[in-house]
């Protein structure tokens, strides 16, 4: 298992290089470049820039170079820990992404914890109280949760809050904290705001996980080791928690591998609707404005987060399951 993890870690740089090529190819694929769309924007605003300025800008960003040179220049700066310069904002990408990345990860992790904190007990309840009223309730909630796109849920919640209470539930901070430097109060303010988008983001996953937990636990409850534990004289609750629940959760750990990445990229849509300052809306704007180094960097970060999410799930699975841990040591 350790060997497997080391293997994955060694593979990581290669995978990232491969992804960086795909990503770069994608962001520079649209016809034209940032300047053409920039000039078009200026023109629609009634102003224009002269030929010399355009040439100067082109040279500055290497837009006059062939694609592979642009890629190599980008790679060179990334290897120095510099994500390049945003064409639109004229600021270093690292600076633009910085805090937004923290908020992206915070939101995803929050949604993740809500998912597990709700889905596991709900799944256990449903399995141990099969066909009870609450079990059916969870089943209905599951189907609706999976069927509702999360932007739709966000819209509905925003609409209810706005039309009934006149509340605007967008954003991750109260206005006075948006630009403030990090402090204890700012974190508290973030916690006051983050739970709602986290619920919106996590609801589909929660619904699905509840169902899987229920099915897994029902399977495990029929296994002979439950009978033998019961025959020992263990009380029913202790027994369920110690044995079948533990075994039912094990396979769920491997779902983290796709669920965390899904939360990272899913937050993009929720963030756009609910106006959250994470890297999602930034990517959207960069893509439409053809701000290619910014878009490329953000896409690469998403790729990185996806790989890390998978890796975390592998490590966790090995930690909780001795059968996997001891294989091939």
């Amino acid at each position: 298992m350790l060997r497997f993890i080391v293997q994955r870690l060694l593979l990581l740089p290669f995978l990232l290089i491969l992804f960086s090529i795909i990503v770069f190819w994608l962001v520079q694929a649209p016809p034209g470049d940032f300047l053409t769309s920039y000039i078009a924007t200026l023109a629609s605003g009634g102003s224009s820039i002269n030929e010399a300025q355009v040439e100067a800008l082109k040279r500055q960003f290497g837009l006059d170079q062939p694609g592979y040179v642009q890629y190599l220049l980008w790679m060179e700066s990334i290897s120095k820990g510099d994500l390049g310069l945003s064409l639109e904002y004229q600021r270093p990408n690292t600076e633009l992404i910085g805090e937004r990345l923290v908020l992206t990860i915070a939101l995803a992790l929050f949604a993740f914890f809500i998912t597990w904190a709700v889905a596991i007990p709900a799944g256990i309840y449903s399995a141990t109280h099969q066909n009870s009223l609450l079990d059916y309730f969870f089943a209905v909630l599951n189907y609706i949760g999976v069927a509702t796109p999360n932007f739709m849920l966000a819209l509905i919640l925003m609409w209810i809050a706005f039309s009934n209470f006149g509340l605007s539930i967008t954003g991750l901070f109260s206005p006075e904290y948006i630009q403030a430097p990090w402090s204890g109060e700012r974190v508290v303010d973030l916690l006051k705001h983050i739970w709602l988008p986290a619920i919106v983001l996590g609801i589909a996953g929660t619904a699905r996980l509840t169902r899987v937990m229920r099915a897994n636990l029902l399977d495990e409850l029929n296994k002979p080791y439950v009978v033998s534990a019961r025959a020992k004289g263990l009380s029913e609750w202790k027994l369920v928690w110690k044995y079948p629940v533990r075994l039912a959760i094990n396979p769920l750990v491997s779902t983290i591998g796709w669920y965390l990445p899904q939360l990272f990229s899913g937050s993009l849509i929720v963030a756009t609707v609910m106006n959250l300052q994470n890297i999602g809306p930034l990517l959207l704007r960069a893509l439409t404005q053809q701000d290619m180094y910014l878009a490329g960097s953000i896409l690469l970060i998403y790729c990185f987060l996806t790989i890390v999410g998978t890796l975390i799930s592998d490590v966790l699975l090995a930690l909780v399951d001795p059968r996997i841990r001891m294989e091939g040591v």
Partner: protein, 391 residues
């Protein structure tokens, strides 16, 4: 569902453990079951799942709309009338008192003295009579023949009081009619991209599973690579790369291909797994020894034996595609106006102030939820039914 409970209850209890699934009727049904084809068995089991059957009917209704959206529309979806913006929904009533005589309440507009905007209210006292199979704008049925018959419309096509079943948007376009066209696009995107996924998936998964060796290795790595890409951002980057001057049909096909691009990997994996296990089965060996060609073995022996599973998995993949398309279009990077899809329609609902003013703009979202729900229920029903001899 009840079937599942039955089986689980039976495995739990010793006395009935060794008895095959069934009941008193088992003996009578036995002969019928043993001679029935696989498809019949799947159908019998599916039929028992009431929820799935109802959902299937809902889906059929949706696809009828897909075929002839114009027939269900009451107006030209592109017709704008700025003066008639944000008209609220007019509830359809089938009975006037006790007589069957469908009507909708009329709307009355008043100019708001402060904002100087027209504001519309429902006037329950004034009734606009409705007729079914009425005349309206001209359209072509499936591109074959022209007609102007619509399912529903005001009794007097020339009357000033028009009907807006789902209200109008900020440009005064009829939301109901636009929904019909949106249904066509969104349901088709889901279906077509899944069909593409199935073709890719079965082809590549089949090659991978049947031939093995280095081909398998390459395809496996490719699937792993695609699956480790962050889906939504990559989709966005791909759709953003589509040239702005493409025609709606071009964009439509590009979107379906983009959605299928990652969607096929899951199916591919499943097909590969099935191929690997089937390759060891006796009936494949028997066919091989009987001198069947590889192509015949694959198409006549192997594919039919997991076709029902593929169909169940595909049914469950369609809603994912529908949600993805809706999300992409909602963000402005999917289907582009003037083409209409549920996601495009929902773009109108992005602004919270607008939404507070005109909540009926969320109606396409309800359509998404119903469609996805129906697909999931049918898919679950098919998956359970695909295993006709029990688990």
């Amino acid at each position: 569902m009840t079937n599942d409970e039955m089986t689980s209850a039976k495995t739990k209890n010793d006395p009935v453990e060794e008895v095959p699934l069934g009941s008193v009727f088992a003996a009578k049904a036995e002969e019928r079951v043993s001679v029935a084809s696989n498809w019949k068995l799947v159908w019998w089991r599916f039929r028992k799942n009431k929820l799935a059957v109802i959902s299937a009917l809902v889906l059929i209704a949706f696809y009828i709309i897909v075929l002839v959206p114009d027939f269900f529309a009451t107006q030209d979806p592109e017709a704008t009338e700025a003066k008639l913006a944000f008209i609220p929904t007019q509830g359809l009533n089938l009975f006037d008192g006790t007589n069957f005589s469908p009507w909708v309440p009329a709307v009355v507009g008043k100019r708001n003295p402060v904002t100087l905007r027209m504001e519309f209210k429902i006037d329950e006292t004034k009734k606009v009579p409705i007729r079914f199979f009425t005349e309206g704008f001209k359209y072509k049925v499936l591109g074959l023949f022209e007609t102007n018959i619509h399912l529903i419309g005001p009794q007097d096509p020339k009357s000033a009081d028009w009907i807006y079943l789902f209200g109008t948007d900020r440009l005064g376009r009829d939301q109901w009619s636009r929904m019909m066209y949106g249904t066509r696009t969104s349901m088709t995107v889901g279906l077509v991209s899944v069909i593409l996924s199935v073709i890719f998936g079965v082809l590549l998964g089949g090659i991978s599973g049947y031939f093995g060796g280095w081909l398998d290795l390459i395809i496996q790595r490719l699937i792993e690579l695609l699956q480790s890409l962050p889906t939504i951002p990559i989709w966005l980057a791909m759709t953003a790369a589509l040239p702005q001057d493409w025609r709606p049909e071009q964009v439509f096909f590009a979107i379906t291909i983009i959605l299928a691009f990652i969607g096929w990997t899951t199916l591919g994996r499943e097909v590969r797994g099935r191929f690997l296990s089937l390759r060891e089965e006796d009936f494949v060996l028997a066919a091989d020894l009987a001198g069947c060609s590889r192509f015949r073995i694959i198409t006549r022996h192997m594919v039919p034996s997991f076709m029902s599973h593929i169909i169940a998995s595909s049914t469950l993949a369609i809603p994912v595609m529908i949600i993805s398309e809706t999300s992409l279009s909602f963000l402005g990077l999917g289907i582009r106006p003037p083409a209409i899809s549920w996601g495009v329609l929902l773009q109108e609902a992005q602004n919270i102030q607008t939404l507070a003013l005109a909540p009926w703009l969320l109606s396409p979202g309800i359509a998404v939820i119903i469609a996805v729900l129906a697909f999931n229920l049918v898919g679950d029903g098919l998956r359970d039914a695909a295993d006709p001899y029990g688990h």
